[in-house]
Amino acid sequence: MDAVLELRDVHTFIGSFHILKGVSFAMRAGSLTALLGRNGAGKTTTLRTIMGLWPAAQGSIRFLGEELRGRPTHEIAALGIGYVPEHRAIFRGLTVEENLKLAERRRGDLARRAEWIFSLFPDLKAALKKPAGLLSGGQQQMLAIARALVPENRLLLIDEPSEGLAPMLVEHVMAAIHRLREEVPILLVEQNLHAIRHLADHYILMEDGRVVRSGPMAELLGNREWLQRYLGVTA
């Protein structure tokens, strides 16, 4: 099957620190892939490198056949990648509606998809005119995901959507992501293995700036030794 996203030997430096030390993986179309690993393994850096926010120094990043490395972030996004960063990064001073409106790539994007977006996140519809900074943590996370759904994206990069949320809200957000996976391929960074064990089709395991294993999710969940060794969890 064709790869939506393919990284080959990607190296990224932040200042003089060598963070990604040759990351290679391919992500298939029509799948939800979990990017896993301990703190500092390079998961967030991988997403930021794909977006061009921390440009790769070396290697190749291909998205639907187009090379991303060397392009500015806004062009990468315009190719059809929705990015939901960690800590949400919603615009707190803007209203919910303005947050969504800003994500339009073509006039009328929001109007076209509003119904679908609000069926996923009914809370947002009631809060349209509210400053986003006044939303609860869970609603802010929903807004951050909703923002990535406004234009027609062909890949979503979602960074730790469960971070800092109460268990009930985590479930709600994950349920929404579960519904999204039917529509668009998702690369999901998540610490909370429990939250995504039934969600992800594939996994990519990172350690110290490299991909150490990847494969179908069931394979990882069935291997106690790997879970213990790479993620420090006892399943």
Partner: protein
């Protein structure tokens, strides 16, 4: 809302207290003077604040743009031949840079050669230039004291200078390196447009000069405002794209650069227009008749220079300045509130990276906002000239007051800049009033008189008081 009570306190001190102690007529005219100053401060402060909020650039050259706007507007009105003979050289330079950057990748000219060409052709373009004759007493005689045919060089020579300037630009463009391939057609188009504009200006220089000088004053004034504002905007866009952009990663260098540019600007004005002060520009006809109108209707029908406000005459032209300030405040406020670009600007003030990650080219936003802020400052400069006249130092004075306004309001906050300008304007006006009249305390034979420095210090005192209460300004969230 945050910051409300210090604001109420200061508003009371500046508006309420004088309203209690001063006769109503005096209070009203001092308030109007304060609003006039506030409008001018706002035109400088708004751009300063937007540019800081969006790009974290503290633009010390912003006052210089105010001053340059004033000089360019003045020149269009009184001595257009100076611009008509000099501006085409710079248009050719810009076009050359554009052409150079587009062709840089294909030609790869050695840096030594392009550097030598840049300096050499640049010097050649101004070799033995007769700038002095073009300016000659332009400050006192409309169109200059030396008749234009004697003051300006033969057309062929100026075209030769233009060509040299174009070649200098070409070399500069080669040195700067290539444009991105998608921008290529835009670059070609813009460069060709600049070149064409320069050629048209120069070929029609006598016709254009005569047309401007023989036009009615109101039209000339309008032209001056438009030219000054556009020139300010273009200069701002050029500054951002060429000088400031490479330094976003190095804030200290930026401070040095913009501070340096402000001095370069002042010296450039001294070289071109001379170090002296210029007399104020004639006011448009609606504000020019030597009469005192007793009502707004009478002023509008007769075009009186002053209006009776509660028994005291007030110059009507200052109402125009207030109007321009209020219109710009409302216009930009609406732009920021309702348009997609405005929403993007507000979002980028919070988080540039995320705006970029949504697919919006933040760089272009930077250039646009820099140009707009610069255009506003230049507009302020042009509308100030009938009121203040011209001097090379006017930019620095306004920059300082605008800085104080921005700091009072909170750096990067648009409404804060407006409120800050309002407070600084009022403080200056009441300070000036107290200095001229003095304070008479009961039981004292003579009023206490202050030095004029007190009026200037009053704004700094307000700033100090507000910073003590709210270290990030009245509406500020951003620090540093």
């Amino acid at each position: 809302m945050r910051g409300t009570w210090p604001l109420i306190l200061i508003l009371f001190a500046l508006i309420g207290l004088p309203a209690i102690f001063l006769p109503m007529s005096v209070w009203a005219s001092v308030m109007l003077s304060g609003l006039t100053l506030a409008a001018l401060f706002f035109l400088v402060a708004s751009g300063l604040s937007l540019i800081f909020g969006l790009m974290d650039v503290i633009n010390f050259a912003h006052g210089t743009l105010f001053m340059l706007g004033a000089y360019i507007g003045w020149t269009v009105y009184q001595n257009p031949r100076l611009l008509l003979n000099v501006a085409p050289l710079f248009l050719a330079l810009g076009a050359g840079i554009g052409f150079g950057r587009v062709t840089a990748g294909a030609l790869s000219v050695p840096r030594a050669i392009s550097g030598f060409g840049l300096v050499g052709f640049g010097a050649l373009a101004f070799w033995n230039h007769n700038l002095g004759k073009l300016v000659a007493f332009g400050s006192t005689v409309p169109g200059g004291a030396i008749p234009t045919p004697l003051a300006q060089e033969p057309l062929g020579l100026v075209f030769a200078r233009m060509a040299a300037m174009g070649l200098a630009g070409l070399c500069g463009g080669w040195r700067m390196g290539g444009t991105r391939s998608e921008d290529r057609y835009r670059s070609w188009g813009m460069s060709a447009g600049l070149l064409l504009l320069g050629i048209l200006m120069l070929s029609g220089r006598e016709l254009i000069e005569r047309w401007i000088l023989e036009s009615p004053g109101d039209l000339r004034f309008l032209l001056a405002v438009l030219a000054g504002t556009l020139a300010g905007g273009a200069l701002g866009a050029w500054m951002e794209a060429t000088l400031i952009r490479p330094l976003y990663a190095r804030p200290i260098y930026q401070v040095l650069l913009t501070l340096g540019l402000s001095y370069v600007g002042v010296e450039l004005v001294r070289v071109v227009w001379g170090p002296g002060n210029y007399t104020p520009l004639p006011r448009p006809s609606l504000f020019a008749m030597p009469c005192l109108a007793s009502s707004i209707g009478e002023w509008l029908s007769q075009g009186c220079a002053s209006l009776n406000v509660l028994g005291r005459p007030f110059p009507t032209y200052r109402l125009l300045i207030i109007g321009v300030g209020v219109a710009m405040w409302a216009g930009i406020g609406l732009l920021l509130r309702w348009t997609r670009i405005g929403i993007a600007v507000r979002a980028a003030v919070e988080d540039r990276e995320m705006v970029e990650a949504l697919g919006i080219p933040v760089r272009r936003l930077f250039t646009g906002v820099f140009a707009m802020g610069s255009a506003l400052a230049a507009l302020g400069g042009v509308v100030a000239t009938p009121f203040l006249g011209l001097s090379p130092a006017m930019g620095l004075e306004f920059l300082l007051q605008a800085f104080i306004a921005v700091i009072i309001g909170g750096m990067g906050h648009y409404g804060g800049a407006a409120m800050g300008a309002f407070l600084v304007g009022l403080a200056r006006a009441f300070g000036d009033y107290l200095v001229t009249v003095g304070i008479a305390l009961p039981g004292m034979a003579e009023a206490i008189h202050f030095s004029p420095a007190i009026a200037r210090a009053s704004t700094v005192l307000i700033m100090a008081a507000i910073l003590l209460l709210r270290p990030s300004g009245l509406f500020g969230q951003k620090t540093g």
